[in-house]
């Protein structure tokens, strides 16, 4: 086990606690940077999709994992990001500008939706966001002037004219997604180590004491909602380029649930969890395809196998590993760190003590 001696307060603020972490993350960075040299085109595309999911996951994690608000409607923000990207590009706005712009547009919509929606909590908020997603789906269908309606719309190719760079080449697109993912992760990590992120966590754990410490509940929640929508919007605009053609059926309830599944399976309340979750939902279809070949024909050809398995996995995770893949990894790591002294109760949590009765 490693014990870090802290000699300055800066050490509590830094991203990396010790040299070992710098080494391992450096290795990871190197691996993803040189990956295009070794990986087939198809898997490179899948990996870009994983990065896009992860960006959306950052948005959803800020909301679900750090502010404690559930959203079943994040596909709507993905859609708003994607459609604003395509619309802006069709209007002739150059690519480097459209990306942050569609992020801002989505964040603004998020804030507008958040103001009324965040008066609700728990299951009511989940239903409200679900309703919002359905409204957005309908708006997309019935507003052909902007969205192309049922026929959909073509997304122009992402290019930087100035240096004549086609960003939709698989390798260029991979690096684009990677760069934006890293940027979004840095922003999220900065938020989480500063007063804004702490206010989110405070609201998650106890609204009543957050309030008595001077945190304005509704404005902080609205901020969280807007930021969450903004990240998801950026992911949406990359998603638009990935798809190349937008149609209303790309952003359904199932997409929202897939996003939530990613956050839960990866590990609620950790940024690591997003990456695990994104890898999981990104590569599960491939794994299923492989599994299909091995299964008896009767089962393998059954329709609806994929959603059924998604559902089953979600239930199993919630029962056996509420902290997701990342939580499991922490347990495995501490097993080896403490070997042979690991005790099974190390990660058992005591039932929480009685808390002050809810005032509202």
């Amino acid at each position: 086990m490693r014990f870090v001696q802290k000699t300055s307060y800066d050490q509590d603020i830094r991203f990396f606690e010790h040299r070992g972490q710098v080494f391992w993350y450096g290795l990871l960075a190197l691996a993803v940077l040189i990956a295009p040299l070794f990986i087939e085109r198809f898997y490179l595309g899948e990996l870009s999709l994983v990065f896009i999911y992860a960006i959306a996951g950052i948005g959803l994690m800020l909301l679900v994992g750090y502010t404690g608000l559930v959203s079943l409607g994040h596909a709507a923000f993905l859609a708003i990001g994607a459609y604003s990207q395509a619309w802006l590009m069709n209007q002739g706005v150059p690519f480097p500008l459209t990306l942050p712009l569609s992020g801002f547009i989505t964040a603004a919509v998020g804030a507008l939706v958040g103001i009324p929606a965040l008066r609700m909590t728990g299951i009511y908020l989940a239903v409200a966001t679900l309703a919002f997603a359905i409204i957005v789906e309908q708006v997309i269908i019935h507003w052909p002037a902007v969205t192309g309606g049922f026929t959909g719309m073509v997304v122009p190719r992402a290019r930087i004219e100035l240096i004549n760079l086609d960003l939709q080449q698989p390798i260029a697109f991979y690096y684009l997604c990677l760069a934006i993912l890293v940027g979004c992760l840095l922003i999220a990590m900065n938020l989480l180590r500063s007063p804004t992120g702490r206010a989110f966590r405070a609201i998650r754990d106890s609204e009543i004491s957050a309030q008595s410490l001077g945190i304005h509940l509704s404005s902080t929640k609205t901020l969280a909602f807007a930021l969450s929508a903004g990240f998801t919007g950026v992911a949406g605009s990359l998603f638009a380029h990935k798809l190349g053609y937008l149609a209303p059926d790309s952003f359904t309830i199932q997409t929202s649930i897939l996003l939530l599944l990613m956050v839960v399976v990866g590990g609620v309340g950790s940024l690591h969890g997003i990456i695990y979750g994104a890898l999981f939902i990104g590569f599960l279809p491939q794994m299923l395809a492989v599994a299909r070949d091995l299964l008896p024909v009767g089962i393998a050809q059954m329709p609806g196998l994929e959603p059924a398995l998604f559902g089953l996995i979600l239930i199993l995770v919630l029962i056996y590993e509420p902290l997701g893949i990342y939580g499991r990894w922490l347990k495995i790591r501490s097993y080896f760190e403490q070997f042979p002294l690991y005790r099974r109760a190390t990660h058992k949590r005591q039932k929480s003590y009685l808390r002050t009765e809810r005032l509202r």
């Binding site: 307060y9 800066d10 509590d12 603020i13 922003i187 900065n190 938020l191 180590r193 500063s194 007063p195 804004t196 992120g197 702490r198 206010a199 966590r201 405070a202 998650r204 754990d205 106890s206 009543i208 004491s209 957050a210 309030q211 008595s212 410490l213 001077g214 945190i215 304005h216 509940l217 901020l223 930021l227 309340g269 949590r349 005591q350 929480s352 003590y353 009685l354 808390r355 002050t356 005032l359």
Partner: protein, 254 residues
Amino acid sequence: MSLLAMNDVSLSFGGVKAVQDVSFSVEKGEVFSIIGPNGAGKSTLFNLISRLYDCESGQIFWQGEEITSVPSHRIAELGIARTFQNTELFEHETVLRNLLIGKHIHRRSNAVADMFFLPSVRRQELVFRKEVEDVIDLLNLQHYRDQVIANLPYGVRKMVEVARALCIQPKAVLLDEPSSGLNPEETEDVSFWIEDINEELGATVIMVEHDMKLVSQVSDRVLALADGQVLATGTPPEIQQHPEVLRAYLGDAE
């Protein structure tokens, strides 16, 4: 001018008159205790001061200014910190982060500066960290700094909650039953800490407490409450001998 004054404050829940025409005032620098049998309205009084409940009638004054309708998230900025009867900590966070959240009202950065962790945010964080460390020192919490609240014993949680309240750098601290659930030794420690908070930090302490030994050790004045009404106010010995107070606790002689 008193630090805090309640003026004929009333509140009822349905038919239950939780607080009826309660008036009292707390002077700067005092240790002021509120005692009373269960259901007397002590915690309700705290919730009224921290504006979690609205008064039905009456006014609350803080340093001469009326705060009867100030929103609850502004109360901390005024310099009023509080703890809760059964602790309301941020359970999934470390002690350190709990205390840093206590620094929230002193933040000068906005969300955009936070996103990019500008040099000003870093400087602010370092100042917060230093000030939090002073509180950790005062209450002897060094040992628990990086532990998650959910793993801590109850007595320590109680102290973390007091520490978090002190991070506000308050003019007054409201302690809701600081010794409940603690063993006699820990209760003794609480009395020392209350003296420290009062003398070293110069904060006025207002507490709800059942342990009469603790109350008489530390308080300057005591307010006795029963059924939402004030029975008596006075020094600890006066209150302990007050016939009304005795009747409220022990019942009539026959």
